[in-house]
């Protein structure tokens, strides 16, 4: 798995210090990302899901070098980029770009769409005809050339997000981090943008790290998915397998929480929703961070944090209840409860 890893996140921790008082002494730390290990193959779309505050955005920002890692490393195409600075970071900046969540705030309100894209080309000393390239990038994202002369406030959310994607493509990157790239859009627009992202990936051989909380979007777009909870990865699997055979009780609960549009089957469905709230990352529970809310919690769960262990090829779970016992073939939470 490590040999063909294009982006490898290794034991990554991002802790934010909480300072108090006159001397700004550190009194605690928020463990936004805690010992996360993931790897992405070249050309795949990797989804990262979890509730708000589970650390998925912080993870994305660390990969983008907007936040510094406390511990661990991020390897990109064989190079450790965790500590690169200044000029050493420049090549990485051209190969990795990002699409952000809020299309209202991710474009400079004082610049026209064309200027926003052209600036990226200018900064990276694009050799060809910049105007033509801007037009080409807009066209790739389904926008006609007259959008180059519009300010962000003159466009709709979907159009802005397309400009954001065009900007992300300007440096001809290999990896695009999509931080909740469609969450702020209307459902009808979401589908368009998701399709656009998919099309671009296939056409340009892009790799995506797609952060989202909408499971159906992630299922549609991503090849593999990691589920995060309170800064840790609970389960990783291929997108197909994760949704059809979720192993971790948290993943099962997340999938059970997907709204079902059919009222008849919804009525019949046995939904075991999670109780309680996500604990504060300031003071995470001991052992497995999920144990206070887990239907399968055992004694060991409160003491020892489970490692992410493979249950079959390409499917790993961090759960004592799953990995210490032989796998039953059934997956519904109801039958799980008696174990």
């Amino acid at each position: 798995m490590t040999a063909d890893a294009f982006l490898r996140i290794e034991g990554l921790c991002v802790h934010f210090p909480v300072r108090k008082g006159l001397l700004q002494r550190q009194v605690a730390s928020v463990r936004a990302v805690d010992n996360v290990t993931l790897s992405l193959r070249r050309g795949e779309a990797f989804g990262l899901v979890g509730e708000s505050g589970c650390g998925k955005t912080t993870l994305a920002r660390t990969v983008l070098r907007l936040v510094d890692a406390t511990d661990g490393a991020v390897w990109f195409d064989g190079e450790n980029i965790t500590a690169l600075k200044g000029a050493a970071l420049a090549p990485y900046r051209t190969r990795v770009s990002a699409v952000f969540q809020d299309p209202f705030s991710s474009l400079n309100p004082r610049m026209k769409a064309g200027a926003i894209i052209a600036e990226v080309l200018k900064v990276h000393r694009f050799a060809g005809d910049i105007t033509a390239r801007v037009r080409e990038l807009l066209a790739l994202c389904g926008l006609s050339e007259r959008f180059a002369d519009l300010f962000p406030h003159q466009m709709s959310g979907g159009q802005r997000q397309r400009v954001g994607i065009a900007r992300a493509l300007a440096t001809d990157p290999d990896l695009i981090v999509c931080d909740e790239a469609v969450s702020a859009l209307d459902v009808s627009i979401q589908a368009q943008i998701v399709n656009l992202l998919e099309e671009l990936r296939l056409r340009h051989g892009l790799t995506y790290l797609f952060i989202g909380h909408d499971l159906s979007v992630v299922r549609h777009l991503c090849d593999r998915v990691a589920v995060m909870y309170l800064g840790r990865v609970m389960e990783t699997a291929s997108s197909e397998e994760l949704f059809s055979e979720p192993q971790h009780p948290y993943t099962q609960a997340l999938i059970a929480a997907i709204p079902n549009p059919d009222p008849v089957s919804e009525e019949a469905r046995d939904t075991a929703l999670l109780k309680g709230e996500v604990p504060s990352p300031l003071d995470p529970p001991s052992g497995c961070v999920f144990h206070p809310r887990c239907p399968l919690a055992m004694d060991i769960c409160a003491r020892i944090a489970p490692e992410l262990e493979p249950v079959r090829s390409g499917h790993a779970v961090a759960c004592h209840a799953v990995t210490t016992q032989p796998q039953p073939e059934t997956t519904t939470t109801g039958e799980r409860d008696d174990r």
Partner: protein, 293 residues
């Protein structure tokens, strides 16, 4: 959904900034009045040698005479023609007002942007200095600086600019603190833009509105500041006709010669008012988000 802009945007305002500015002035009656007054004063300043009826420093025996046909605004205690002095004073007062604020703006905004963007130690050091300056009245600082550097027009400009810089630093810093959390700043960093480019091409243009408001307020204070320094004998040479100095000189004769106080005061008031009107319009025009159909 199609990719056409929504209906109300069918005629988007995509004109370049200058014509947007013109359009916003065309709608705004106050801005027009302000602009006319400012242009009039500017014209007076430029044409001072031609339109002033007398030498501003020529003394006559016709002292403290009330407004008449020869001296439309009267004469002062040394028999100098008040109209001519005010006309010549326009030059100096406008120059001091504008150049002081320009200098204070450049220095203060730079400090504020750097403090706000980098945070940490840079912020700590810059803002503690600004706090220190904040603790003293601006005017005291200006007096101190003039006392150190000596009097004269240039020193007065520098002194007032340094005394006013803290206001600009504060406004700029607070804007930067808000704006640097915007995603377009993250996007710029991800694209590998330099800090300098992010600060001055992306953040600053979005922070201009309150800075312009601060500048218009400061121009009036700068004109008054020069007047006050001159009044204390710390400004320009006492025979130089500046509005502040004329006003200050006239103060002692306010009960005998009302015109010595009223006319220079009126000139200051008109200019300050006009600058504020124009500043308001400028702020609206610069904020592209507010220029709807």
């Amino acid at each position: 959904m199609t990719d056409l802009p929504a209906k109300d945007l069918s005629e988007p305002d995509i004109r370049p900034a200058p014509s947007r500015l013109r359009a916003s002035f065309a709608r705004d009656r106050k801005a027009q009045v302000g602009l006319v007054i400012l242009l009039a004063f500017l014209l007076v300043a430029l044409l001072a040698p031609l339109i002033a009826p007398f030498d501003p420093n020529a003394m006559t025996l016709d002292m403290m005479s009330s407004p008449s046909l020869t001296h439309p605004l009267g004469t002062d205690d040394l028999g100098r023609d008040l109209l001519s002095r005010i006309i010549w004073g326009t030059q100096i007062s406008l120059f001091v007002g504008v150049s002081t604020v320009a200098l204070a703006l450049i220095l203060g905004v730079t400090l504020g942007v750097v403090a706000g963007y980098y945070g940490g130690w840079a912020d700590m050091i810059i803002m503690r200095y600004i706090d220190l300056q904040w603790a003293f009245p601006n005017f005291i600082i200006a007096i101190y600086l003039v006392a150190v550097f000596g009097t004269g027009l240039l020193n007065v400009i520098v002194a007032i600019a340094l005394a006013f810089l803290d206001d600009f630093a504060r406004v700029a810093r607070s804007m930067v603190l808000t704006l640097k959390e915007e995603q377009f700043v993250d996007a710029a960093r991800v694209q590998g833009f330099s800090d300098l480019r992010i600060m001055f091409r992306h953040i600053l243009p979005n922070a201009l509105a309150p800075i312009i408001v601060q500048a218009t307020v400061s121009v009036s204070y700068a004109i008054l500041g020069e007047a006050s320094l001159s009044f204390l004998g710390l400004g320009v040479r006492p025979d130089t006709p500046t509005w502040g100095l004329i006003l200050a000189d006239g103060r002692s004769f306010i009960s005998q010669a009302w015109w010595l106080g009223v006319f220079p005061g009126l000139a200051i008031m008109l200019v300050v008012l006009a600058i504020n009107f124009v500043g308001d319009a400028l702020r609206d025009a610069l904020d592209v988000r507010e220029t709807g159909p």
